[in-house]
Structures are given as structure tokens and as C-alpha cells.
Amino acid sequence: MLGAAPKAGVPPPPPAGRRGRFHAPGDAATEPASMWPVLEGLLASVQRPARYVGGEHNQVVRPWSAAETRWLLCYPDTYEVGQPNQGIQLLYEVLAAQPTALAERAYAPWVDLEEVMREHGLPTFSLETHRPLWAFDVFAVTLPHELGHTNLLTLLDLGGVALHGEQRAPEDPIVLVGGHAAFNPEPLAPFVDAVALGDGEEVTVEIDAVVRAFKQRVYADGGAPTPADRDELLEQLARIPGVYVPALYAPAYHADGRLRRTVPVQPGVPPVVAKRTVQDLESVPLPRRQLVPLTETVHERFSVEIFRGCTRGCRFCQAGMITRPVRERRGDTIRELVEQGVADTGYGEVGLLSLSSADHSQILPLAKGLADTYAGTTTSLSLPSTRVDAFTLGLADELARNGRRTGLTFAPEAGSERMRAVINKQVSEEDLLRTAETAFAQGWRHLKLYFMVGLPTETDEDVLAIAELAVRVLRLARRHGKGNRLTLSVAGFVPKPHTPFQWAVQDPPEELRRKLSLIRHAIKEHRAITVRTNDPEDGVIEGLLARGDRRVAAVVERAWQLGARFDGWQEQPTLPLWRQALADTGLELDWYVARERDLDEALPWDHLDTGLERSWLWEDWLDAQQAQSLEDCRFTGCYDCGVCPGLDLTHDLGVQPPGGAGHG
């Protein structure tokens, strides 16, 4: 073959234990080679190569030798899913503001690139400068859900870092995880060195300071760390509030397999690790310089988190439980972030993000003000909201001034009044119908309603109530336009840790399938209703990992060995691999997902403290089973969930809502 390029070799990583010089701070000679020249030649053979090239507006590139600590921030899914993640972008800016730190980003290679990387010995690389994972000091991975766990193993394995923390070399990166799914990190315990619980803004800076001081000491005078040094670093990290180091804790089990407790294995380690909370969101008005991708991503907009935390108290909602209390960003700050961000990024859409955006105490003046600012321009505003009421509709009208009135989304979550009381989603059928009617009367053409099936205490009557409600809404819709449509999105419920439903049974896929077919059957003559459902099997892996204990780590590793990747993707039907992995490791799926726990059983996340009192969660679970609902403590007074006094926090609303009666 004439004209063939000499095979572009990737320099093999130095053996573990001999990589110290690449970590030594401040020496240009220690710069690891960029993988770009090799990667560039291979990109022609993979799908969507723009995922891997970097070069985005607002990326930060700092010289390797100028940094004392080097972080690789990672979202363990494809670039187009992970790039818009606000947490990563926020920490990217927090670290960029540290004069001695360097932060780059990595995402999971799609399966085609993974194959090419293995063939050519290409390691997990950073997007900005394509440097190898093994050369970084901290590999910080956000776990927004459970379905990136196998991708984390792929990234470590490709990146030249041992899968098991105990096998890592002293100079290897510290594998740090955070994000919502990190509130039960036990199924990943052997693979991660440290877990940051809760808000990352402050703890990241503290971790960076510990790593920096450690490096200054061990790399002084041409030295390199020893295994004892690494152990000491882990102990130092465990002393930072909010940081959990799994290796310093051990689970103990009853003879019947139930967990007895998880306890520290050495003195000086806190028995319970409490999450971190940024009390004043105004202190971190970030991310400000948001990254603008060169290829299509799942959310293309300038996003501002308008508040953090939620006290609506939906019992299925892990995010609402683990992020309390409510802390609002002030209207002026939001406006300033939006105006500066739109000009800086060139985005044509603004997203006002939170767990329930219509609940911001100043949302109406804020939305009106922004709608005025961008009136007559092509910049549009979006407000993800799950609330179903007239107020939200008024808001949606305000935001749609500039754009289209096509689709409006509400999330009643359950079909019957009883079921909504069980899950504490407080909206009456009357309200819902009135809101829907008003929406169609005002010119909205298409309503999307989100529901769940498989909820605790659910009967077929509750399931059919979803279909009945949909048909009633459709009748209203048709009064205002023959073409008006309705979409039902129905998902299977997966119980999550740190929620009142953490003790509940998860419906098996065949039961979900039966319930979904009840709905489909009941509405089949209404062609203007579209039903969207996930594969009922989708929730199985998620459920196993959500409430799994440390023994489940063996299943994760085995499933990964068998080829499980991108478990949340339709293109990757990995459930058979997980079933095989469960068989190979001798663990029983139903024991983890389809078994009701009682109050006495220790849970794998009991030593991780979100501030919620376990006794309060249990009472709320009992209330749920009696269909007793609970008001929002922002408006009606404290019901002692435990977060504010326990973590010495308070709600932070810019303005107290008058009379505690909501926004009306």
C-alpha cells in the first residue's frame, strides 16, 4: 500500500507508579502529550466526530505547567447529553477562578469510538487539550442518575486508571463523584475514592486546596507519593465536611442478607457524612460564561438556575428531598446573568431552571421583565415547570409572547385524586381541567401531560383514572379546536433513596406493561391522544442501582465486563447483560427492587445525611399509604423534616409570599 501514513502511535502510558513526574506541578517537561494528532486521524471512522473535538466558545485552556492541580470534570454520557449539564459548567468556572487550578472536561466515548480507542491504545482524553485521564490529579464525575455507572468504568479503564480504588497507584487521579445519584454511591464504592455530597461550589474549592497542599508536599524536591501518602490524602479528604470516602467505611450484614449498618473502619472518620449546602445562592452567580457547542446537544440555551431546592414535598421526587431548603436567586441577579449570557453566548433561548420554576417568589415580575426585554427579538424564554394551575398558565402566556403557543406541559403525575394524595402532588382534578380549558381557550393547541405508573398503593382504578382524565381533557380541547391534541407521557416509577418511597416495592416490568396496556386500551378510540411510554424494562437497572448496596458493585463490574455501556439508551439494550451479571454474582434482583423494607432495616445510605430525619421520612411514608397529603412548608409552616435545624440552614426567599397562600 503506497502512501500509507506510518502508524501513528499513541505513547503508551508509563506504568502505574512511574507517572509521578506528569503530576509534578509547574514543570513544562512534565506535560503529557496531546492525543489530538492521533485522534484526528481516527475521527473519520466514527459517528458524529464533532462530539470529540472541543473548541467551544468559552472553553478555558490553561497551560499544563502553570497549574498546580489538574481536574478532569466528567459527565459519563455522550457529549450531546452531558455538555449542557449546569453542574459541570458551574464547577468548571469555580475551578477556572482558582489561579493554581486547571480544569478540562471529558464525556463518554460512544461505543464506536471506544472500539477505535482500544484498537489504537488511545486513552480517555480531555476535550480541551486531549490529554490523557491518567495525568490528571482529580477525575471528578457527576452522577445525575444511575445509568452512567458502567460508562464510568469504561472511562477509568480506557484512561489507564485501575477500576478498583485499592489497586490505584499513589499518583493516580483521585476518582471523585458527586451529583444526585451520588447520594447512594454504594454500588460504586470500590471504584470511587471520594464522594462529594450536596452542592459542589464550596467543597470543590476545599478539595482543591487539600490536593494542592498534598502535591506541594509529596512532589517537593523531585519526590513522588507512596501508597501511604495516598491513604493519607484520602483521610484528609474524609475530614472535609460533605466528603465521604467509601474505603474508610465497611458495611455489616445480618445472616439473612439484610444490612445491619455501615460504619467507619478507623478512628477519626465521621460516622455520618452530611451533605454540603450553599446557603446564599447569590454568592455564586454561576455558570456565567457558558459553553456553546459546535454540534447539536439536548438543550441549546442559556440556562439560569433561579432557585435551588424544593419543598413541594412530592414523595417520589429525590431531587426535591435532597436539595432542601429552598434558596432563591434574586431577580436582579437573574436578569443580569441572562442579559450578559445571551449577549456572550449568542444563544436564542433562555431557560429559567429549577425543580419547579413557577414557585420562585418573584417569577411573574421576572418573567414579565425578561419578556419585555426580548419583545420583538428572536430570543425566546422557556420555563420548565410541573405545576398545574392558572398561575403557571399566566406565566406560560407571558413567556410565549415572543414565540409559539404550540405545546404546554403539565405534570399531574397521577390520575386519581387519591393517588395524587399518596404521592403528595397537590392538584385537584377540577384545577387541572380548568387550567387545561383556559389553555386551549387562549390558543394553546397541544397539551402534554406527564404521569407515572407503578406508584405505591396503586390499583387498576388509579391507573385507569389516567386514561379517564386524558379523555376529559381531550373533550375540553376539542371544544376549542378540532385539531387540538393531547400527549400522555407515562413512565414507570423507580423508588429512590432519601425519599419517603425508599421503603417501597418497585413494580416489575410485566406489571408495568399490564398497567400501560390498560391505559392504551382505554383511550384507543381517541386518536388525538398520543401515548408515550418508556420500555417498562428501562427502570430495572435504574432501580437496582438506586437502592443497591455495596455488594451490587460486583454486578456493575460484571455487567460492564459483559459489555454493558450507555444503559439508558434505546440503542443499547443491556438488560440481558445485567441479568447475566446478577446470575454470575449470585445476587437476586427482586431482593433489591421488589421487596418492601421495614423501619428496622438499615439502608445502604443511612450514613449519608441529607438533613432529612429518617423518622420524618418514615412518617411521611405512613402518611402516603393513608393518602394523607402535606402542605409546602414555605407557605404553611415547618413540619420538621429536619433539614433546616439539622444543617443550620433556612429558606431564602427574596420576598416572603403574602399570607402564606402561594402566589395566586
Partner: protein
Amino acid sequence: MAECPPTATGVTRPALHRLRIRYTKLGRTRFVSARDLGAVFERSLRRAALPIAYSEGFTPHPKVSFPDALPVGTASTGEYAELTFTAPPDLEGDPARLSAALPEGMDVLIAVGVPEGTPKLARLLPAALWELAWPPVDAAELTPLLSRRAKALLAADRAEVTRHRPDGDRILDVRPALLAVVASTRRVPDADDRTVLRAVLRNDGPTVRPSDLVSALARGDVAPPPTIVRVVQGEVLPTGVRDALGGEVEPLVIDVDAEAA
């Protein structure tokens, strides 16, 4: 602001200002797909605070149009686009202002206003000059081999190749689109010589890509060239291709010593 006379419906619309640009797509940006290019331009124009015009209707789109799609992974110094503004963008003398807002690797080389009645941009781009460069190995053998095959190809009436696609193979004739092809050896100081192929392919008619030309010439014993560049597009001359916007002629036969000079 200049205004058009009222239309038949009585609505007064601001006069639109059209601008045509030649730009590069090099480095990392060669992996940006044609599908993503519109959004990249839209955001860059917004960042530069240029008064981009939008289409009317339910979902307004920025008035940025591209005459064709460059294959993903192919580099270019000869990309063209037409941008429409609601006010004079003042870019003709200062294309760097837009370059600064575009991603690294994308630079505006030429910007010219479009007087009324000018033919469509695509009609000004009947052909493209492509450059295919091999690594600095085997040039002494490879250049004469490709030269012979290039001459034979030009002398032939038909040249069928198979294009492999995920949805099935397709056979096509590259000959009708091929206007000229020359292989030469480029001397680079302090490095080994490399073989370079320059070819002129018609843009109108059935699409023939440079990779199809490679299929016709390589015949299984020549490695595919790692870099393919669309150098320029415009009118075909006996000596090369004339840039449709700048007017300069890019020669088909490269001056082998130019790089050394």
C-alpha cells in the same frame, strides 16, 4: 434605516442587506457537520452583535444559506455562504470582526455585498478545486503512479466506482464531474516529499466527492489521503479555478518549490 417601498399588503419592511462570504473550515471545525453549521453561524453572528435577518413565520430561522454541504471531516479554504442582515453589517472592509466571533479554524477571507440582480451564489460556484495530500512517504513512487492513472482517467469515457454507505453500496461514474486532475510532488523543507493531487470537480450535476475520485485512482494499492481540502470554488479556467468572490486564480498545478520559498 433604508426602507423598501410599501408592499402590496401595505406592510413596510426594512431593506435587507445581503453579504456573501468566503470562509475557511480548518482544524477542529472540519468536523462540524453541515447540519450544525447554521447554528454555529447564527450564534457567532449574534455574539458579534450583527443585525442578522430572520425568516418570517412560526419558527424564524436566521437567513444564512450555504450552497452545498462539505463532507464531515473535509477541510476547506473555499467555503461560501450568503448572510442577510436587516441593516448594513459593515463587514466588507473588516471581515475580521466576524472571524473573531466564529470558532477557531473558521475565518472569513472575503466579504462582499450583493447588488440586486446578482445570480444566485450556487451559480457562481460551478466547480471546486480540491487538494488531496498524502503523508511524506513513498512520493517518488506514488506521484508518477497517480500521474499515470490520472491521465488514463481523463482519457476514459467512464470511470465507475462503488461508494460504500450504511444504507447500501452505490455505483457511480466519476468521469462526467471530473474536469482536471494533476498529481505532483510537494517539497517541504526539512521533511520528506509528499504527493499532492489537485483536481477540479464540477459542483453541478450528480455529486462526485473527492473520496470517489480517490476510489477511482487508488485501486486498492494506494492508501486514502489523510487530508482533503476544498481549496476554492468558482469559474473554471484552463490553469485553475477563479475564486467566485475574490477573483484570484488558484492554479491547478502547484509550484513545487513555492513551499520552500
